[in-house]
Symmetry: C2
Subunit: 553 residues, 2 copies
C-alpha cells in the first residue's frame, strides 16, 4: 500500500489522537484492531527492568483506556468495519544497533544523560495487513517514547481497541532537547502521590524534565542530609516533607518514565524560611511592610556578602544535589531585592570590609555556589536576572530560564547563553486566577490573563533570533507557581495546557490550532481514563464536532 | 459569665471558623471539648426522618473532620488547655413552639416553601461549664442550619474536638431569603454524584437554592416524561442523562439539606438541541456562521411566533416542572438573537399572519408558557432581558436574575421586580479562564478577569437603590457556566468562592475581607476533610498566619 506523507498543515481535523504529533508521520485509512492475544515483545537480550515495566504499563493502557472516538456516534458507525478489520498480533521492540560497550542502557540512565546526547527518536511501523508492528530506536529511551505513541493510536469500541487509520509509518524525534514542566511545592505542599501522577501525565506527552522548585520563602519541605533542621523548622508540618527516600522514589519514578528531575533551591532571594533554622544567614527576615523587601511575603534573602553564608549555601546546595541524579541543579537567582540588603547592617558591613559592591558580592556568591555544584558533577540552571539584570559569571553550560517576558529571550540568546523558554506571558499556568494577596478586593493576577493552550501553542521559540542565536534555544516548559495551587486543582490547572507546550517543543513551532484542537480534546478524554482530571477545553458538543466551535465556523 | 457581643467589624482575625458568620454571635475565651460520649438529642416527638439523618451526618462530621486549627503549631500549644477543659456532654434540639396543626414539618418540606415564609433562623447556646448545648428554632429547617453551625465550631487535636472560644451564644437568621448556586449541566455533563457532593458543600454554608441550568443548545440531558426523544437525541450519550429517578433523587437529597432545586429550561434562545428531535420548532438550527445567529455555537431558537411551537414549549415546561418540587421554574429568556428570527421564513410568515411584532410574539409566547407553569402551581424565574431589553408581561411573583451587569440591578428593581443578584461582573465563577472558542489564539474570557472571593465579598446588594427598591432584592447566587467546566474542576472552581457569596447574602453586606480570610481558609481545609477539593486561596504560610499576607502587612 502506498502511504502518503501527512504534514502538520495537511492533517485533516480528525480525532486522530497522537500528541505530540510525530515529526515524521504517514498514515492510511484502513481499519485495524488489536488482536485479543495482542502482545508486546522485547527483542533485546537482557532488557532493562524499566523497559519491561514500561511495556507492562503500555499493555495496561491498551486494556484500560476505554477511550471512544470523539465523534457524535462515538464509533458506532464504524462497528462493522472494526469487526471486519484485520488484527494486529504484536508489537516488537528492538534496538537499531547493538549497544556501545555491549550492555543496554536503561531508560532511567538515558533520561538523565546530557541534554545534547539524549536519544529520544524512534521509528514505529504499524502495518494494516495483520502482520506485527515494529518499534525501533537507538536507545531504550527512544523505545519508551515510541511505546507512548503506540498507546495513543487506539480507540475503544465495546472492549476492542481499534484504529481507522492504519497503516502507520512514524519516524519521530524531538525538535528541542528540553521539554519541561515546573512545579512549586513550597507555596503549597504536594504529596508524593500527586507528583508521581503528574510525572505519569508528563511522560504521556513526552515531557522530559521536571523542574522541581522544591523550596521557597514560605516553606522548606526538602529534608537535606546534614541540614535537616531546615525542614524540621521550615516545613509546614512534619508530614509535609520530602525525605531522601521520597526524593529517591520520585527521581527513579521519573527516570523510568524518561524524565530528568532538576531541583531548584532558589538563591539568594526566596529564602526567608531559612531564617527559622539559621537566622544568621538571612537578611530582612519577615521584614514589614513585606512589599518593601520582597515581591511577595515573607521577605528574607541569604546574606550573599557574608563568607559564612556563602559557605553555608554552597554546602547546602552540594548536599541537596547529592539527592538527585540530574546533571543540572538550579540555583535560581530571580527577584533579588536591593532594599533588603541596603537595610541589612550585616550585609553592609560585609560589603564595606570586603570593598565589594553588591553586584560583585553576588558574583562571588554565585561562583562559590556553582563551583560547589561543579565539584559534584552538576551544571547550573539560573533565572534570567543572572544574565540580564544582575549579570554574574556563569559557565558556558549553564541553562538560563527566561521568565519575566518572552521579549527578553533575544537578549539572553545574544549573549550566547543557552535558553529555556519559561516566559510568564506564555507559559505560566497560574496566571489569571485573580489576586491572592489578602485585604485587596481589587487585586488581580499580576500576569493576567490566563494563558490558554492556544496562546502557548502559537508561540515562536526563535522569534527575533538569528540562526546562530536560535541554536541556543534548548526548549521550554510550562510552570505552575502555587500561591493558589494545591492538590485540589493540580490536574485541572496543568492539563491539558502543559501538553500544548510539550507539543510545541517536541513537534516544533508552526502548528495549527484548528487542527490541533481535536487531538487535544482526545488527550483530555484519554487522561481522564488514566486518572488525571484534565480540564474540558470546550463544551462536549464541540469536542464531538471538530471545527464547529471555531471562531469563524 | 458575661458575654460580650462580637460584631463583624470587631472580630479579631482569628481562626474561628463559622461560615457564614452568624448575624448574632457572642463568644467567650474558655476552652471546651466534646465529651467522648457526646450525643445529639432530638427533643421533638416523631422527629422527621430527614432531621434524624441530619443529626447523624453532623455526628459524622464531628468524628471525621480532623481539622486542626490553622495556626503555626496547629494547636499543640493549646494541648494542655484542651486536656484540662470541661467536656460538652450533649446538644439538644427542640422547636421553640409546638408546630401549627400539630405535626412537625420535615426539613425537606420547609426547604421548598415560599421564599418569604422559609424559616431558617435558630438560636444555639454552647455553655462553657460542662452543661449541655441547646439548639432551638421555629422549624426543622432552622434546626438544620443550627446543626451546620454547630459542626463548624470544633477543631481537632489528636482525636479530640475542641474550641477555645466557649461559651457561644448565637442567634442567627439570614439577611436574604434567596442564596443560590447555579450549575450548567448542558455544556458539559455532571454525574449525579458530583451534583450531590455539590449539594452537600452548598448546605455547609447554608446556600438554599440550586438553580439548575439543566439543558441548553449543546445538550439535553433531562429525561422529560412525554418528551423523552429530546434526551434520546440530544444528550451527549445514553449515560449522560438525568432520568426522572435521578431528578427525584437529586431533589430529595437537596431538600433534606435545606436546598430548593429550581430547574431552568431556557427559552426561546439556547434551544438548538431541540432541533434534533423537533426540527419544526427551531429557527436557524446550527446556522453558520454561528456568530451571526447566537452568542455561542450552536445557533437555534424556538419559533416563538408559531402557535404550535408555543404549545409544544408550554407542554414541555409543564411536564418538566412536574419532576421538581420547587415553587419556581426558570424559563430563561436571555440572549435572544433577532437575526435568527429575521432569517427564518417560518417565523416571518407567522408574524405576518398574526400581525404581531417579534416583541409582541415574545410576550404572547412567554405568557402561554408562564400560564402553563402557573397551572401546576409554579412561579416563573427569568433572566433580566425579559424586563429590560425585551420586556414582557410578567406576574408579580416572578424572580428576575440580573446577569449582564450589576449596573442593571437598579433598573429592574425600579420596575418593582423581585431581583436575584447573578451579575457576571461579580458572581460568574467561570470568568477568567481564557477563551474557549476554537481557532482563536488571541481569545480571552469574555468576562475577564477572574472573580475573586474578595471581589464578590465586598459587593453591595443595595447599591443605588432606595429603601423601597431594596425590598425587591431577594438575594443572590454565584454561577458556573461550563464551557470549560466539568467534573475535573467543579470543586476547585466553585469552592471556596461560592461560600463568599453565601456569606454575603446570609450575614449581609459590609463584611471585612481581612477578617473574613482566616475563616475562609478554615472552610477550605474543612471542605477537604469532607471530600470537597476546595482551592487554596494563598500559600499555606499565609493560611497559618492571619494577616501577614495582606496587601499592606
Amino acid at each position: 500500500m502506498k502511504l502518503s506523507l501527512i504534514t502538520l498543515s495537511a492533517l485533516l481535523p480528525s480525532a486522530f489522537a497522537l500528541w505530540p504529533l510525530p515529526t515524521g508521520l504517514s498514515q492510511g485509512s484502513t481499519p485495524l484492531r488489536l488482536s485479543k492475544g495482542f502482545d508486546i515483545k522485547i527483542a533485546i537480550p537482557n532488557a532493562p527492568a524499566d523497559l519491561v515495566a514500561a511495556v507492562q504499563r503500555t499493555k495496561g493502557f491498551l486494556t484500560h483506556d476505554k477511550l471512544q472516538a470523539l465523534v457524535v456516534d462515538r464509533g458506532a458507525s464504524s462497528a462493522s468495519a472494526i469487526a471486519k478489520a484485520k488484527s494486529l498480533p504484536s508489537l516488537t521492540l528492538s534496538l537499531a544497533a547493538a549497544p556501545k560497550g555491549g550492555s543496554v542502557k536503561s531508560i532511567s540512565a538515558e533520561a538523565v544523560a546530557d541534554l545534547e546526547t539524549r536519544a529520544e527518536g524512534y521509528t514505529l511501523t504499524i502495518p494494516a495487513d495483520g502482520s506485527g508492528a515494529v518499534l525501533k530506536a537507538n536507545s531504550t529511551l527512544g523505545l519508551f517514547r515510541g511505546l507512548t505513541t503506540f498507546s495513543q493510536v487506539w480507540y475503544d469500541w465495546k472492549g476492542t481497541g481499534y484504529t481507522l487509520s492504519a497503516p502507520f509509518q512514524i519516524s519521530d524525534a524531538p525538535k528541542y532537547p528540553y521539554r519541561g514542566f515546573m512545579l512549586d511545592t513550597a507555596r503549597n505542599y504536594f504529596p508524593v502521590s500527586d507528583i508521581k501522577r503528574t510525572l505519569d501525565a508528563m511522560s504521556w506527552v513526552k515531557i522530559n524534565t521536571l523542574h522541581w522548585h522544591v523550596v521557597d520563602s514560605q516553606s522548606f519541605p526538602l529534608v537535606v542530609p546534614g541540614y535537616t533542621v531546615l525542614s524540621e523548622k521550615g516545613a509546614y508540618n512534619a508530614e509535609s516533607v520530602y525525605t531522601p527516600k521520597d526524593v529517591k522514589d520520585i527521581v527513579s519514578y521519573a527516570a523510568a518514565r524518561g524524565i530528568d528531575v532538576i531541583p531548584e533551591i532558589d538563591t539568594p532571594g526566596h529564602t526567608s524560611v531559612i531564617s527559622k533554622a539559621f537566622p544568621e544567614h538571612i537578611a530582612c527576615p519577615e521584614a514589614k511592610p513585606w512589599a518593601s523587601f520582597a515581591n511577595e511575603p515573607p521577605a528574607g534573602q541569604l546574606r550573599l556578602a557574608s563568607e559564612e553564608t556563602s559557605k553555608f549555601t554552597a554546602g547546602l546546595l552540594k548536599a541537596a544535589a547529592g539527592l538527585f541524579q540530574s546533571k543540572f541543579f538550579s540555583t535560581g537567582g530571580d527577584e533579588i531585592n536591593a532594599n533588603c540588603y541596603a537595610k541589612d547592617s550585616e550585609t553592609q558591613a560585609s560589603l564595606t570590609s570586603s570593598g565589594k559592591t553588591l553586584a560583585q558580592a553576588l558574583d562571588t556568591f554565585t561562583q562559590v555556589n556553582h563551583a560547589a555544584l561543579r565539584s559534584v558533577g552538576k551544571s547550573a540552571m539560573v533565572w534570567e536576572e543572572m544574565v540580564l539584570d544582575n549579570p554574574v559569571t556563569l559557565a558556558n553550560d549553564t541553562l538560563v530560564l527566561v521568565w519575566i517576558s518572552s521579549q527578553n529571550v533575544a537578549a539572553v540568546a545574544q549573549k550566547g547563553r543557552r535558553v529555556v523558554h519559561a516566559a510568564s506571558d506564555y507559559f505560566y499556568l497560574d496566571c489569571g486566577h485573580g489576586g491572592w494577596v489578602g485585604d485587596f478586593p481589587a487585586g488581580n493576577s499580576w500576569c493576567d490573563p490566563f494563558k490558554t493552550w492556544q496562546h502557548a501553542y502559537v508561540f515562536d521559540p526563535v522569534a527575533n533570533l538569528t540562526a546562530d542565536e536560535s541554536k541556543n534555544i534548548m526548549g521550554g516548559q510550562s510552570l505552575l507557581w502555587t500561591e493558589q495551587g494545591s492538590p485540589a486543582n493540580l490536574d485541572s490547572i496543568v492539563w491539558p495546557r502543559a501538553a500544548s507546550t510539550a507539543e510545541l517543543f517536541w513537534s516544533g513551532p508552526g502548528g495549527n490550532v484548528q487542527q490541533a484542537l481535536p487531538r487535544l480534546h482526545d488527550l483530555v478524554y484519554r487522561y481522564r481514563q488514566r486518572g488525571v482530571a484534565a480540564s474540558s477545553l470546550q463544551p462536549e458538543y464541540c469536542a464531538l464536532r471538530p471545527g464547529v466551535c471555531d471562531l469563524t465556523a
